[in-house]
């Protein structure tokens, strides 16, 4: 665990020094600019739009970090040959993978936490300008704690995407790995449609293939509760827990696969 911790902290330090956290400034500026612009719209609509936009921005900014840094976690070390010195130290390859993954998750955690704070600050300031924390025209309070549920689910999504990026980078080139990860992210948004594919196709083999793909491909739409929380619809705790369990199990499987591939890899 000690070795994994040192590798993870180093990944975080790399992100900070590579100015990855600058995205937080862009996020804050974007959110404040849009909120000022929306101040002109009908009361009640602007807060909802900001809620939607903020959650989408947290998700999108996190996605770019997860994919682009996630791909580089392994491929940069291999391309630049810094992995030669690193793996000659008393570390196991599985510790390398785990440390790299946890380092990026730590980076994402800091990012998402700061973005969440900025998000709530903007929502709070909008409510203050509007003259109340929960106006009758709104479906939910401006600084609704339920938004945290959506953010937690976004974070779980990002954990899955990071694991996907890491896995792809263990066996293919950075460009292909990036394309593959984005592809899987998009497929993951529509994966739920595969579950009931047999109702719209007659062919049994195709239906069976669709069912297999449903279980194998990431189901990211399960972790998307943005619409529910913005419209103050309930998100049961049981659903949250099962979704979290699914995401963590999927991450564990992806990391196990990435490790298995990486353990056999020759560095030429």
């Amino acid at each position: 665990m000690r070795v994994i911790g040192h590798i993870a902290v180093n990944v975080f330090r790399e992100s900070v020094r590579d100015k990855v956290l600058y995205n937080l400034v862009i996020f804050a500026v974007l959110l404040i600019a849009v909120s000022l612009l929306l101040g002109q719209l009908t009361a009640g609509q602007d807060i909802k739009i900001i809620k939607d936009l903020g959650l989408a921005a947290i998700s999108l900014f996190g996605l770019f970090i997860a994919v682009f840094i996630g791909i580089g976690l392994v491929s940069k070390e291999v391309e630049r040959r810094s992995i030669y010195s690193l793996l000659s130290k008393p570390i196991r390859r599985q510790e390398f993978i785990a440390g790299k993954y946890l380092g990026l998750v730590l980076t994402l955690l800091v990012n998402v936490t700061v973005m969440t704070a900025a998000y709530y600050a903007v929502l709070g300031s909008m409510a203050w300008v509007a003259g109340g924390w929960f106006l009758p025209a709104w479906e939910a309070p401006a600084m609704d704690p339920a938004l945290l549920k959506a953010i937690a689910m976004i974070f779980l999504q990002l954990m899955m995407v990071t694991a996907l990026a890491l896995l792809c980078s263990t066996f293919t080139s950075p460009i292909l790995a990036t394309a593959l990860t984005f592809g899987l992210y998009i497929v993951g948004q529509f994966n739920a449609d595969l579950k009931h594919f047999e109702t719209i196709v007659a062919s049994r083999p195709v239906a069976l293939l669709a069912r297999i793909l449903y279980y194998v491909l990431p189901n990211l739409s399960r972790l998307d509760v943005k619409t529910q929380v913005v419209h103050a619809l309930p998100v049961p705790a049981g659903y949250m827990l099962w979704s979290a369990a699914y995401a963590l199990a999927y991450v564990a499987a992806l990391l196990a696969l990435a490790t298995a591939i990486f353990m056999r890899r020759d560095f030429k």
């Binding site: 070795v3 180093n10 330090r13 040959r81 030669y84 008393p90 570390i91 560095f267 030429k268």
Partner: protein, 321 residues
């Protein structure tokens, strides 16, 4: 117990995209290196030296054969604590300074922060970049990078250290510093296994050498036992040598080169030893400038070996195992 045992180590790569064919980079290499030795692993580019080192570091996995370091299989984490490795043309993280890099590696090796505070600056001073410890490697010259690489390789006072082309990119002062460092490591009891294609490095440092050509071991043993290093004659440089004296001894001399007036480079056979001739020339008034054994150059040796191993060059595909 030998420090390193390599037993029939073989590595095949697959070359070609549509019709992959095996390319044998290393062919049944067997070696045993004793503890405390400075062992030179020599060969031209593409001979399989780096492949061997990568196999020993388990950066690559062998097609067949096995290797042990300090009595344990390669890749054993316990062994990695006791060894060091300098890769060829090392590269490090751009975002870490030299000091931070060594601190990071030292933390991976389990050193406490108190240990690191004393060990890291001392080591950077030892390799001659103490003044640049807060610079990032991207601002370093190739020679400075090499020194950082050497520092990280000896960070843990290793019992066995592997250097892949340690002199690469170094100026004469740097080369001398690395030579002295290797000798210092030997004096501490450290086994040094280093690869090079420069004969003079091996001559200055090694107790034994192995020569690899086209993935195959073509010679191994003490310096004097290896043909590439055995003298084939003597080169005697003398001044104030009268031409008539030279003519008198022509039968004992294989070749004569006039350097300047009354100054000659004489090529003598290995046997008889040049002592008697030297005495006679000095008695006739000549001054001794130098007497050196003439050796076949490593380059000549490599060229000859490559000729003897047709079809084993880097761009050729070896026979399947």
């Amino acid at each position: 117990m030998p420090a390193i045992v390599i037993d029939n180590l073989t590595k095949d790569f697959s070359v070609g995209f549509w019709r992959p064919r095996p390319y044998r980079a290393l062919d049944r290499l067997s070696l045993s290196i004793e503890q405390g030795e400075v062992f030179g692993f020599l060969g031209p580019n593409g001979a399989g030296k780096t492949t061997t080192l990568k196999l020993l570091m388990q950066l690559q996995f062998p097609t067949s054969g096995r290797a042990e370091i300090l009595g344990r299989p390669v890749g054993d984490v316990g062994v990695k604590r006791r060894i060091g490795y300098l890769p060829e043309s090392p590269y490090f993280y751009d975002y870490l300074t030299a000091e931070e890099l060594l601190n990071y590696f030292a933390s991976l090796m389990g050193y406490s922060s108190a240990d690191r505070r004393t060990r890291v600056p001392g080591l950077l001073d030892e390799v001659g970049i103490g003044g640049e410890r807060r610079m990032q490697p991207r601002k370093f010259s190739k020679g400075m990078l090499q020194r950082v690489g050497i520092a990280q390789a000896i960070l843990n006072d290793p019992e066995v250290v592997f250097f892949d082309e340690p002199m690469s990119g170094l100026d004469p002062l740097g080369r001398r510093a690395v030579r002295n460092l290797i000798l210092k490591l030997r004096d501490r009891g450290c086994t040094v296994f280093f690869s090079s294609h420069v004969l003079s490095d091996a001559e200055a440092l090694c107790s034994r050498v192995a020569i690899l050509v086209g993935g195959s071991l073509v010679a191994a043993g003490a310096l004097t036992d290896v043909r590439a290093f055995s003298a084939r004659g003597w080169e005697l440089v003398v001044a104030n040598l009268a031409p008539e004296i030279l003519d008198r001894h022509r039968a004992r001399i294989q070749g004569v080169t006039l350097i300047s007036e009354r100054r000659y480079a004489l090529e003598l056979p290995l046997q008889p030893a040049p002592d008697a001739l030297l005495r006679d020339l000095i008695a006739a008034g000549a001054h001794l400038i130098s007497l050196n054994p003439m050796r076949e150059t490593l380059e000549d040796y490599f060229v000859e070996m490559v000729k003897q191993h047709p079809g084993r060059r880097k761009d050729d595909v070896a026979r399947p195992a």
